[in-house]
């Protein structure tokens, strides 16, 4: 038990470091493409942390959605915008004070929640039928949000097809 716990800690700290380094690169690099690649590194670290927490489904969805779709879309948008790829854009504009304030506020709220909540510790390997249960919950307890999101995605899909037609 002790050995596996130790290994879990090592994995957690290595992956956290990857996520943080990636995030740091994403906000400090002046080259937009490299910043986007830093963002991908950060997403990879977060996905790895989900794996360590035995939330494989969330981890894989994180990779599919955030790396496979969103980051690729960001890269695509950078490529299609003239002049963005070569010029070294400034990493800050006049709104940085407001943004820093909002960011700090957000951090304070999350930090407060994190230290005041009494986190219940899950027993390891208690849930084996995670995916079926998730599916059942989505169409019973959380039916309305699920349907709303589905409708939104369907609208986006049809919109993409309509735009592609023109």
């Amino acid at each position: 038990m002790l050995t596996s716990q130790f290994l879990t800690y090592v994995a957690f700290f290595v992956l956290s470091a990857i996520a943080l380094i990636g995030a740091f690169l994403a906000v400090t690099l002046r080259n937009l493409v490299r910043a986007a690649l830093g963002l991908i590194l950060s997403f990879m670290g977060v996905a790895g942390i989900y794996f360590v927490l035995e939330a494989e489904f969330v981890a894989i969805v994180q990779v599919i959605i955030y790396i496979g779709a969103i980051s690729v879309l960001i890269l695509f948008a950078i490529m299609l915008t003239r002049g963005l790829m070569t010029s070294a854009a400034s990493t800050q504009n006049s709104q940085w004070i407001g943004a820093a304030f909002v960011g700090m506020l957000m951090f304070a709220v999350l930090f407060f929640v994190a230290i005041t909540t009494n986190w219940p510790l899950a027993q390891p390997h208690t849930i084996s039928d995670l995916i079926p249960r998730l599916g059942a919950d989505l169409v019973t307890t959380y039916l309305l949000p699920f349907e709303a999101v589905s409708l939104l995605l369907l609208a986006a899909l049809i919109g993409a097809i309509v735009i592609a037609r023109e």
Binding site: L2, F76, M85
Partner: protein, 357 residues
């Protein structure tokens, strides 16, 4: 027959027992010993799978050249080794001793990392394929999604190659690769959904076990539609003709790997064939019953089915001309996506009235 069938699992069990005995006798704590054994076994399995993958790629390169030659009424490689079978080895040596060229104004780090990031996901996808009865290197209960997710990382590698080379042809190739990958990923994932519905599981092992009586490709009409759509989008996903716009050599030199030479180019080459082999193994697992089959050992059945799909892919490559880029996008969004959506609905209706498998 049982000996052949369980050959690899028996070897695995023997090494596992040997290591357990060795470390158990060394006076370590039992939990530490089992953790070390698990780590060593993981390392061994990973190495074997990787070496097997590289071996497969070498045979595929030889096979592709031979099939291409046969289709075009030529002889193909026939100088190195019997039937030219050592030609890929000679090619590999050539790649190793070639000069590694980096363009002057290239983004060096991105240029260097691109081939690695293109190859790594292909290797990751390899570890979950059930090659035979009890022969999956790793089994999660969401393996189907794992395959999809790691293959989407490979796209980033192609983009990095296009951007990092500082070459307009490479950039065009990278752009085409990204657009193509995000378009064809959608029908590919949507055609996996009916299989998950039919099997009631996302584990590749269980999906294969459920197909012992009926392969899913024969669950008409949904299985056949799903198989055809999956195979087409898989060919597009791995950029093989008629979907090889990202490297279309008659239009944009060599696309994303225009500026690559030596072993960096070799890694792209390796990744391409790795990916091709993997999509064929996944198609075999999902639609053709995986390792299920009479008389022959399970892993042999698996390889036979996979190589049948590979030969089909090579045949298609040699027969069809390249799509135009706009036709390619139209085909994905206006034909494959609607078909695969209808296919999901059909599967739901089918499962309401019949019990499958």
């Amino acid at each position: 027959m049982d000996i052949l069938n369980n050959l690899f699992t028996n070897i695995y069990n023997a090494i596992n027992a040997f290591l357990n005995g060795l470390l158990g006798g060394a006076g370590l704590r039992p939990d530490a010993a089992s953790a070390i054994v698990a780590a060593i076994m993981g390392l061994i399995v990973g190495t074997v799978v990787l070496l097997f993958g590289v071996g497969v790629v070498l045979t595929l390169i030889w096979l592709e050249r031979k099939v291409a030659a046969r289709v075009q009424d030529r002889v193909g490689p026939n100088r190195v080794g019997p039937f030219g079978m050592l030609q890929p080895v000679a090619d590999t040596i050539k790649m190793f001793i070639k000069e590694d060229i980096v363009p002057t104004n290239a983004d060096g780090l991105v240029h260097l990392l691109a081939p690695v990031i293109a190859l790594a996901p292909a290797v990751l996808a390899f570890v979950v394929v059930p090659f035979g009865q009890g022969m999956q290197p790793a089994d999660l209960n969401i393996v189907v999604l794992w395959v999809v997710s790691v293959s989407s990382i490979g796209t980033v590698g192609l983009f990095m190659a296009g951007y990092g080379s500082n070459n307009k042809f490479a950039l065009l190739g990278g752009m085409r690769a990204v657009a193509q990958a995000i378009s064809y990923e959608i029908p590919q994932v949507l055609t996996i959904v009916p299989i998950i519905l039919l099997a009631g599981s996302m584990s590749l092992v269980q999906i294969v076990q459920k197909q012992s009586t009926l392969w899913y490709v024969f669950v008409l009409p949904v299985g056949l539609i799903g198989f055809v759509v999956y195979y087409i989008s898989a060919l597009a996903e791995v950029n093989r003709t008629p979907f090889d716009q990202p490297e279309g050599e008659s239009e944009i030199v060599a696309g994303h790997h225009t500026e690559y030479s030596g072993m960096k180019f070799g890694l792209f080459y390796l990744a391409e064939y790795f990916n091709f082999f993997i999509v064929c193994t996944i198609a075999t697992t999902l639609f053709l019953g995986g390792w299920q089959g009479p008389f022959l050992p399970s892993w042999l059945w698996f390889l036979i089915k996979t190589y049948a799909l590979i030969l089909l892919g090579m045949w298609i490559r040699m027969t069809l001309p390249r799509f135009r880029v706009d036709q390619l996008m139209k085909f994905a969004w206006q034909v494959l996506v609607p078909i695969s959506l209808i296919n999901i609905v059909l599967t739901g209706i089918l499962l309401m009235f019949f019990k499958v498998g």
